[in-house]
Amino acid sequence: MGSTFSVQMLNLAQRSVVRTLRQPAVVVSSLLFPLMFWGINSNGLDAASRIPGFPADSYLDFSFAFPLIQAALFGAVTAGADLARDIETGFLDRLSLTPMRPAALLAGMLMGVVALGLIQGVVFLAVGLLFGVQIQAGFGGMLLIVLFMMLVALGFGSLGAILALRTGSTEAVESSFPLFFVAIFLSSINLPRDLIQADWFRVIATLNPVSYLVEGIRSLIITGWDGQALAVGFGCALGLILVTLAGAAASMRTRMASS
């Protein structure tokens, strides 16, 4: 049973990666747009690094968490849209007519998201280093950043899967993108929370779990090994994965209840 499950999962993951890589527009935009936003932000907001109490000397380093988190978001929307398309076209029905276990489909799809997260993480680190980003936690920190990115991709990917399975609509999944985007902007992505002037914004950023994901990654870049930030960041990522994965599994059960 275990080997059947792993064969099913690996084949579905392979399909997920292959179909993503065969959509160059998706791959390029998932790499290009986060880097573009990073470039704009780090130039336009560079003066922020001179605010007293700003935790980094360079805004380029400070804002490097942005493309990493945004890329994971792209991956989530892509994966969710792909799954919704499978529902719309009847491909999910085709899969349902095999002895495939629904968990294998979910795991396979999410492995594809994680693989994309891995590629994005490596590319962004390479580009970041090329443009002078200094990772204070060194090579070990870089590995941890990639791992962190894969976890965030898994969490967001599961969220995308919930949307796809609940709505069965590509449009609905894709139209959720701005909401994800707002969630990133309403976090500490652009400024440390204690430097956010507007009270309402600071409160939202404090309540927003994205802030802790950002701060976990950022600590490796600008601080080094900060146990507390990492513990909170990883805890938040794992919590996100736990909640969204459970939600995705429940949604999958509901979707396939008739099968």
Binding site: V18, T89, G90, D93, G168, S258, S259
Partner: protein
């Protein structure tokens, strides 16, 4: 428990949808192992809803059905292991190649790696897709997609095959190739085939027995020959040389039987006394000095059967508005 001698048994199967009328209304069907059963009906008659239920993709509202001896509600996993299905839309991933589809399908069915390739090659050859095997499916024509769909349904050597309107939209050559393959499967491999179609000719050519469904109910069921024999009498169709003589020709022909629906320029009647009336028809037209450019005697068709059972012609009967499945109700219901 699997019964290798079992085909499909359906008893009082019903499917309701929240919106619209009852899609399937208490149907009973028995399909013997190795038989090709043609399920004929217009759009929205309940054909696809029945297939979705029998393939476990849609739960019935009431009634029961066993496929290969397994209950479709309680033993869905076992049913899926022994059936193959090509549903109405060839659901394929445009970014994968034909070979990759077959490999994925084979892996999900648990075929060992070596066997996957062998089986894939064998099926690609059988459906004539060897040359296109490594091309992405988005470049396939409709016929190629249908053939790949059939190959995917056969990967795990199913005992029972469901084909939901497999030739809709295909060119005559692709249609003929698919018919040959379906016939071969039933004849050489003993596969039981449940085939839905709205094409009379398809049911006539392929099916050992035909069930005619209309508005969710089975209105007739037998071999195509027996169904046509039940209608009995042939019809005659005449096309006047002068279009303005159509009414005059009709007045003559109705002396020999009831008028049937036909093309605007032609007149058709079911002959009361059978083919023997034909000579009298010719003499009567001659007496009235009415000349025709085409006079054709036609044996009863399955369309005549449908007409006799429902009072409507099969062509265009789907417009009558039963339509629950035609508008995607099954998908809504699953969601």
């Amino acid at each position: 428990m699997e019964d290798r001698k079992a085909g499909i048994e359906v008893e009082g199967l019903v499917r309701d949808f929240k919106k619209g009328p009852r899609a399937v209304d208490g149907i009973d069907i028995v399909v013997e192992p190795g038989e090709v059963y043609g399920f004929l009906g217009p759009n929205g008659a309940g054909k696809s809803t029945t297939v979705l239920m029998l393939t476990t993709l849609l739960p019935p509202t009431s009634g029961a059905a066993r496929v290969a001896g397994y209950d479709i509600v309680r033993e869905g996993r076992q049913v899926r292991a022994v059936i193959g299905a090509a549903l109405q839309e060839a659901a394929l991933d445009p970014f994968l190649t034909g070979r990759e589809h077959l490999n994925l399908q084979a892996a999900l069915h648990g075929l060992p790696r070596q066997e996957r390739k062998k089986r894939g090659d064998e099926l690609l050859e059988r459906v004539g897709l060897q040359e296109a095997a490594d091309r992405r499916v988005r470049g396939y024509s409709g016929g190629m997609k249908r053939r790949l769909d059939l190959a995917l349904a056969l990967v795990h050597r199913p005992r029972i095959l469901f084909l939901d309107e497999p030739t809709t939209g295909l060119d005559p050559q692709s249609r003929s190739a698919l018919w040959s393959e379906v016939s071969r499967l039933a004849r050489d491999e003993g596969v039981t085939v449940f085939l839905t179609t709205q094409y009379l000719e398809e049911a006539d050519v392929l099916a050992d027995r035909v069930g005619i469904i209309d508005r969710g109910k089975i209105v007739a069921e037998d071999t195509p020959e027996a169904l046509k024999a039940d209608i009995g009498r042939p019809s005659v169709e005449a096309t006047p040389i002068e279009p303005n003589e159509r009414s005059a020709v009709a007045r003559v022909l109705v002396r020999f039987g009831n008028e049937l629906p036909s093309q605007p320029e032609t007149v058709a009647v079911r002959l009361d006394q059978g083919a023997g009336d034909l000579a009298d028809v010719v003499r009567a037209l001659d007496r009235e000095d009415l000349r025709v450019r085409n006079l054709r005697l036609e044996e009863p068709s399955l369309n005549d059967v449908f007409l006799a059972k429902t009072g409507r012609s099969l062509e265009g009967a789907g417009d009558a508005g039963h339509g629950a499945e035609a508008e995607g109700e099954p998908e809504e219901a699953r969601a």
